[in-house]
Amino acid sequence: MALEKGAQEKAEFLKGTLDMLILKVVAAGAIHGYAISQRIQQISKDFFQLPQGSLYPALHRLEERGWLDAEWNDTATGREAKFYKLTRTGRKQLEAEMLHWEKLSDAVALILRTA
């Protein structure tokens, strides 16, 4: 029970950072939802244990905001899928958030090292 509660708190916290992760992954080039979820799990070494479905409301939200653009294209296997790519405002947003994160983590790292 307590464990579950902890997991839920982590989920709440991650929701905010999820947007940035998605933008980062999409920045590498047009990519579909399933591939995004695979990439995030791979890179983070399964740290983020979100239900995979929760990725999609986030994708739709970012698309609605104009940070992502979407197009239906064929995959390598010849199946039709929705591909996301970063828009110009999306790229600006990603840069701003990354800058913010770097500053924050630098500051935290500095405190942890010196305090």
Binding site: M1, P51, Y56, P57, A81
Partner: protein, 884 residues
């Protein structure tokens, strides 16, 4: 451009985007399954794992849809439809909440509007908060001696410009307007220079009175009241500049005052050039002016009064008859003067009660919402577990709260509107200033609606936020105590119910006292008969009717004519309108010595006066037509006069002396009258005041004082008004009658209208208080039983009968009711002390009334408990226990 097209397409192709959403998620699941299969997992297991990792498909679809702008409207409609459905399912709750809200909003706005209009802002005059009126108070009688002043006094007062910025005075004057065919009577006012500037209201048409109009020899002009101009003269603008024959003087109409200008209650205002003194027909020849001043900011009322008292001391030596032995000048706020003291206090009391009503209405709504939140905690938890996002739940509850708030506010506004209209309609004449306009107060309405709506949102959403934040599993496992079952909350809710019951006991008790007092008032024996009597005041032109003989030349033939007409049994001349009698004078009785001053009322009347009113003779006889004609010095007295001033001696044949007659303009040199008869007592100071000594003498002894007619008819008295008017014009075409109406009408207007209005308001209040208390008891008991559903189920499962459960619930409710009633009875007894002087013929501690109120409230309270109690018995033990 392309972007706009794309957005537009999205809106029109919503079916397509739904399909695409579906295939996007399906693609994910299929890919994941395929990946597991390539890892060597059997397809079925692979599919299961993929779904498990993905989470609730429908939930995520829903969340995706919610991000799309084109779906927002649909979502809103869906939320509201859902909210409507869930409110409809719990109809009793919805009705109670909406009703409580509407009652709170409606009642508080209506009453506050009236209080504000009648008491706080009755006038449209410039800076009316600083306007004051002056009074001369008799310190021995604790009574007003007079609120009017001599012109000399006014002039002296107005010189005190360190106290006042300005001071004006007005003099009432009946004005007969003679047109071609007939004459009508208008209420005129002579006003002092600067009056219109003083009140700071620009005229509606033309101009107001100017300094030049007050010069000696200036052409006579006047200004008309807006209402008179509209009602009597058809709002005819071409009348401006026309000459009107007023009291025999041609006067030019120079302006129509602004709609809310009604200074002195007059219909027309005239300048009074100095030197024009002997123009009015007051009974002792002096003119008394109403005085209004604008007090300088920073000067207190007491300060001003102290200064004026010095001047008054001087005048008391110049005009000793106009001053009592011990007196003081009092300065009172203008607004206070126009609203009678008791009525004012009642209104303040009502506005305090109204604040409580709003508070209670809101408390009821809060209670109902909390009760509902408790019973729904599980429903919400289940929905959260099934994947409804927190936003979703909040939105749905928001929709529900909006519906409740909207319905309550709309109904509340309607109630407020109807309330203001009703009160304005039943408000008796002369209880508020004629300038006052009773209308809805926008600010008050806004405040009440805001208070109500905020309550709904705060208490409608707080549990929602709590429910959606907490872990679904916990809530599901919980037995129903978890959500808002804090003991402190229960205590607060119970306190609210106790307060509600207490308040409605107090209101009901007050209302019942008013009812009983009103009934008692209507049963007061008058000692005279007011039915089938027509009463008319006749202001005679003062220049042509100066002596008793001149009066007789008018009234003698007129009364003769009237008496001979079919439908009229008696007709008499009179000076006042019963049950208010006569002129007050000092009196001497021959052979009776006394140290204190003796007073009596006297009536100047013709021989039929006592017959019109059917006042029976006890001893001796009444005076005859011949005695009236010859102005013989004879008098009839009432029993109180006999008892008080003759002390068991035989009054017949004795002489009494009415001192005031000596001071009349048409003075009676030796005002001694021989007592020829005694009649039974009849009310002469209204219904509630004790009867004063009264004397009737022939009206022909003097030409002074105001006169009128009393006519007894065989059928409806008001049907005879036209006949009487025609006969008056036939007797003298330049005489107009004033205020023709039945005696019953005046009795109602001056005696019953105000108590009836009080009854109305308090009754309305008590009804609403009772309803709110019933809703309050119901909401708390519903909440309590909902929380104990589980316990009841257990009890029933263990063999408790339905009766036992009902008894348990009722006992709990009864405890609150009885507690509230005890507090309420205490409050009632305290409250009834305040209203004692408005009650008549009933004790403020009347045990019958108290008992009746207690029983009524107990019955209604138990009924409110009965509904949730019955529901508790219907709990299926299995359902109640399954949650364990």
């Amino acid at each position: 451009m392309g972007r706009t097209m794309k957005w537009l397409r999205r809106f029109t192709e919503r079916a397509l985007s739904e399909k695409r959403l579906d295939s996007e998620l399906q693609f994910h699941l299929e890919q994941r399954t395929a990946d597991y299969v390539t890892e060597g997992i059997p397809p079925e297991e692979a599919h299961r794992r993929a779904r498990l990792e993905f989470g609730g498909v429908e939930r995520f679809k829903e969340e995706c849809r919610e991000t799309h702008w084109e779906n927002q409207w649909d979502i809103l409609v869906r939320d509201f439809r859902f909210a409507l459905g869930s409110l409809r399912k719990d109809r009793r709750f919805a009705c109670a909440a909406i009703f409580a809200l509407a009652l709170g909003i409606g009642a508080s706005t209506a009453i506050f509007s009236v209080v504000d209009n009648a008491l706080l802002e009755p006038f449209a005059y410039k800076d009316s908060r600083h306007l004051v009126t002056l009074h001369l108070r008799d310190l021995d009688q604790a009574d007003d001696w007079r609120g009017l002043f001599l012109y000399d006094e006014f002039q002296e007062f107005s010189k005190k410009n360190d106290l006042f910025d300005g001071m004006v005075a007005n003099l009432q004057e009946d004005v007969v307007y003679s047109a071609d065919e007939n004459s009508i009577l208008l209420a005129g006012n002579y006003v002092t220079p600067g009056t219109f500037e003083f009140y700071g209201i620009a005229p509606f048409l033309g101009r107001s009175l100017e300094a030049a109009d007050y010069q000696a020899g200036a052409p006579p002009v006047f200004v008309m009241r807006y209402k008179t101009w509209v009602i009597r003269f058809g709002a005819n603008a071409s009348l401006l500049g026309k000459r009107f024959n007023l009291n025999g003087v041609p006067r030019t109409l120079v302006g129509v005052a602004a709609p809310r200008f009604a200074w002195g209650g007059a219909e027309l205002w005239m300048p009074r050039p100095p030197g024009e003194l002997k123009i009015t027909r007051s009974f002792d020849g002096r003119q008394y002016w109403g005085v209004v001043a604008h007090i300088r900011p920073g000067v207190s009322l007491k300060q001003a009064a102290a200064n004026l008292n010095v001047i008054a001391q001087h005048f008391s030596k110049v005009y000793p008859k106009d001053y009592p032995t011990h007196f003081s000048i009092e300065v009172e706020s203008f607004t206070h003067i126009v609203t009678p003291r008791e009525f004012r206090r009642a209104l303040y009391l009502f506005s305090a009660a109204v604040g409580l009503l709003l508070l209670i209405g809101c408390a009821n709504v809060a209670n109902l919402l909390l009760a509902r939140a408790t019973t729904r905690a599980k429903e919400l938890a289940v929905r959260a577990a099934l994947g409804a996002s927190r936003l979703r739940l909040v939105r749905q509850l928001l929709a529900e709260s909006s519906l409740l708030a909207m319905a309550g506010a709309v109904l509340g506004i309607l109630l407020a509107w109807a309330g203001v209209r009703t009160i304005a309609a039943v408000l008796p004449d002369f209880t508020i200033a004629s300038e006052t306009v009773i209308e809805m107060n926008g600010a008050a309405l806004l405040f009440a609606v805001a208070a109500g709506v905020c309550t709904v949102f705060v208490f409608g959403l707080a549990p929602a936020l709590k429910a959606s934040r907490c872990n679904p599993e916990e809530a599901l496992r919980d037995t129903g105590k978890g959500l808002s079952g804090a003991a402190a909350g229960v205590g607060l809710r119970n306190t609210v119910v106790v307060a509600e019951v207490a308040l409605s006991v107090a209101l009901l008790f007050t209302a019942s006292l008013f009812v009983r007092s009103f009934v008692a008032l209507q049963r007061v024996p008058l000692g005279l008969q007011t039915d089938h009597v027509l009463s008319v005041r006749i202001p005679l032109p003062p220049d042509r009717y100066k002596t008793g003989a001149q009066l007789q030349s008018f009234f003698g033939p007129l009364l003769e004519r009237l008496k001979s007409m079919p439908g009229i049994t008696y007709a008499a001349e009179s000076t006042t309108r019963p049950p208010y009698g006569g002129i007050r004078s000092e009196v001497e009785v021959s052979g009776r010595a006394h140290s204190d001053k003796w007073y009596t009322l006297f009536q100047l009347c013709s021989e039929d006066y006592l017959s019109v009113l059917r006042i029976p003779t006890l001893e001796g006889r009444r005076f005859t037509e011949a005695e009236v004609k010859d102005a013989r010095r004879v008098a009839v007295i009432n029993q109180t006069f006999e008892r008080r001033y003759f002390d068991k001696e035989d009054p017949i044949g004795r002489k009494i002396q009415l001192d005031l007659l000596r001071d009349f303009p048409d003075a009676v040199k030796e005002p001694q009258f021989e007592v020829i008869g005694v009649v039974t007592d009849a009310r002469n100071r209204g219904l509630t005041e004790p009867i004063d000594p009264e004397v009737w003498i022939p009206y022909t002894v003097t030409g002074s004082a105001m006169r009128g007619l009393l006519v007894r008819t065989t059928n409806d008295a008001s049907a005879m008004i036209k006949t009487v008017a025609r006969e008056i014009w036939a007797a003298d075409p330049n005489v107009a009658m004033a205020e023709p109406n039945t005696l019953d009408y005046f009795l109602d207007l001056f005696t019953f209208a105000q108590p009836r209005f009080g009854l109305w308001i308090v009754g309305m209040f008590a009804g609403m208080g009772l309803l709110l208390a019933a809703i309050g008891v119901y909401s708390v008991m519903a909440y309590n039983t909902a929380r104990r559903t589980h316990e009841f189920g257990l009890r029933v499962a263990l063999g408790a009968a339905a009766r036992d459960v009902v008894r348990m619930v009722l006992r709990q409710g009864l405890r609150l009711l009885v507690l509230g009633m005890v507090v309420g009875l205490g409050a009632s007894l305290a409250l009834s002390r305040i209203i004692t002087n408005q009650l008549w013929g009933v004790s403020p501690y009347d045990p019958m009334t108290l008992g009746g109120v207690a029983v009524l409230l107990l019955l209604i309270g138990l009924m409110a408990c009965w509904v949730p109690a019955r529901r508790a018995t219907r709990v299926d033990p299995m359902t109640a226990l399954r949650y364990e």
